[in-house]
């Protein structure tokens, strides 16, 4: 009897076969796209920055805060006003996404399952460096699609590792998969230039540097920054005052991930922002 028909591979050793390649072997994940060598496609005609959103993350006294607005757009149309772009990958890691939602959410799903698959097969947690590289590899595998004009994703990755120094870790990426570790803050998406300006200013000349902010101050800064981004960037929703739709804010710390309830964000918004 052919055992492979039963989805039962005798040669699986676990080592060297990570989750995405296992999915590809079984045909459940698209192969890595053909690169820009394709003659009909030139980068100039297809490369469009479609990372229309604003995501920000910074380290504060209680861990790493990651916030994202909730607007999803297609061109100049608002498609959805309750999108969640700040995603939990495991109990200690957050991936926040700017870019084409279909690709980004799929990527987050693959990453989430990859870490679990690794833990179950290898009987240990993946290291922070391993997680950071795993996301980098997914971005790199996707780059062929980016060059064909579909599927650009520019994420932020925040995690907390009790065994490392510093304990709170924050990374941002480019579309090709290069990873950069941020010391204080990171921002991505079409509204990020404004946000980066605010965070730099606050960190350098503000009442106190970002890493000394308490939770309430951190949340109010995130809300103000997103609202500022929304002022000039139509792809960013900021805070929807009439619809009472607030950004998604998650905090990762030693205790794990805390998703701030809307009522709490609303209270800070009412008191410190409005």
């Amino acid at each position: 009897m052919d055992r492979s028909q039963l989805g039962f591979d005798q040669n699986v050793s676990g080592a060297g076969d990570d989750f995405p390649s296992m999915l590809r072997r079984k045909g459940f994940l698209a192969p890595t796209a053909i690169g820009p060598t394709s003659q009909t496609v030139t980068p100039q005609q297809t490369w469009q920055p479609t990372d229309a959103t604003t995501i920000l993350a910074f380290k504060f006294s209680g861990g790493v805060l990651v916030a994202g607005d909730r607007r999803a757009t297609a061109g100049n149309t608002v498609v959805y006003d309750r999108a969640d772009k700040v995603l939990e990958i495991d109990s200690q890691s957050i991936m926040a996404i700017a870019g084409v939602p279909a690709t980004a959410w799929e990527m987050a799903r693959v990453l989430e399952h990859s870490l679990q698959y690794f833990r179950r097969t290898q009987l240990q947690e993946m290291s922070v460096d391993g997680k950071v590289r795993a996301l980098s590899k997914l971005l790199r595998d996707n780059f062929g699609f980016v060059m064909q004009g579909v599927g650009v994703v520019v994420p932020i990755f925040a995690t907390y590792d009790g065994n490392s120094k510093p304990e709170a870790r924050l990374y941002f990426y480019d579309a090709m998969g290069a990873q950069f570790e941020a010391t204080d803050y990171a921002a991505t998406g079409s509204g990020s230039p404004a946000v980066r300006g605010i965070l730099y200013y606050e960190n350098t000349w503000g009442a106190k540097p970002l890493h000394k902010l308490n939770e309430k101050e951190a949340v109010s800064l995130a809300l103000r920054a997103l609202d500022t981004a929304a002022e000039s960037d139509t792809a960013t929703a900021g805070v929807d005052r009439s619809g009472k739709i607030y950004p998604v804010i998650k905090i990762v710390s030693r205790a794990g991930i805390n998703t701030l309830p809307e009522s709490k964000i609303a209270a800070v918004f009412k008191e410190m922002v409005v």
Partner: protein, 259 residues
């Protein structure tokens, strides 16, 4: 010679005897459903015997480490693929065991020119309520025993795995009187350790016909606990987190053990 049917039957019988002999010294494993989940317990100090398969599925196994590893990898791969392409809720232990593992193990066992799997596995899947918990024991020949009610027996809220049939039967007889599905965690830990001791004693004394006396069990357990490390894991019933499997350390358990 194998072409003749009765030779084949004879070869299978030999093979069965050989495998049973290989599995006989395996340290018992007890899995008990309690109020807040399912608890796996065994004692040993060499190889890991309890494993996470998926969000709500755990596995305990005895046998050859190489075979256990291949079956474990296959189970994880099948569950992970299903969980990724559909959803975690679509991963089902019943399907995993009946439609994937069992046929493969059966055919490996019956193809007498190929190697069989030298492994016996105990799977558990935690449900929303204790009556939804599923326990399956998968044998080296693909045979599956579940905890469900049959015409001969009421539904059980536990399952055990051991080197010999006699040891399994004694452990089951012990748990049938000792264990209640609404037990607390502490009670379940103690019942599981007692059940392990019963199973282990029967393995050592091959002619045991009835349950060993309570004092003897307590004494045996005390003796074994001074040397061997406890290996344990739980599948939590609480649905607030998707991943229910959690392995417990020896220290965590020593503090709850009575006496």
């Amino acid at each position: 010679m194998i072409e003749e049917p009765y030779r084949w039957v004879e070869a299978i019988a030999n093979r069965r005897e050989y495998i049973e002999g290989q599995l006989a010294p395996g340290s018992p494993i007890a899995a008990l459903g309690y109020r807040e989940g399912i608890l796996f317990v065994t004692l040993g100090q060499t190889r890991q015997k309890l494993f996470e398969i998926y969000d709500r599925i755990g596995m305990g196994a005895i046998g050859h480490p190489g075979d256990i590893e291949r079956l474990r990898m296959a189970a994880i791969e099948l569950a992970s693929t299903e969980g990724f392409t559909r959803s975690a809720g679509d991963v089902s232990l019943r399907r995993l065991a009946h439609y994937s593992l069992s046929p493969v193990m059966k055919s490996a066992f019956e193809q007498i020119y190929g190697p069989p799997y030298l492994a016996r596995m105990l799977f558990a899947e935690v449900g929303a309520r204790p009556q939804d918990d599923l326990f399956l024991r998968v044998e080296y020949d693909g045979e599956i025993a579940s905890n469900g009610a049959t015409y001969a027996r009421a539904r059980q809220d536990f399952a055990v795995l051991s080197g010999t049939r006699q040891s399994v039967e004694m452990m089951e007889a012990f748990l049938k009187t000792e264990h209640k599905p609404d037990a607390s965690f502490g009670t379940a830990v103690n019942s599981a350790l007692d059940a392990w001791s019963v199973g282990h004693m029967v393995l050592q004394a091959s002619e045991a016909k009835e349950l060993p006396a309570r004092e003897a069990v307590a004494h045996h357990r005390q003796e074994q606990l001074t040397n061997a490390a406890i290996e344990a894991a739980v599948l939590e019933r609480d649905g607030s987190r998707p991943i229910r499997y959690r392995s417990l350390t020896d220290n965590e358990l020593r503090s709850i053990i009575s006496r």
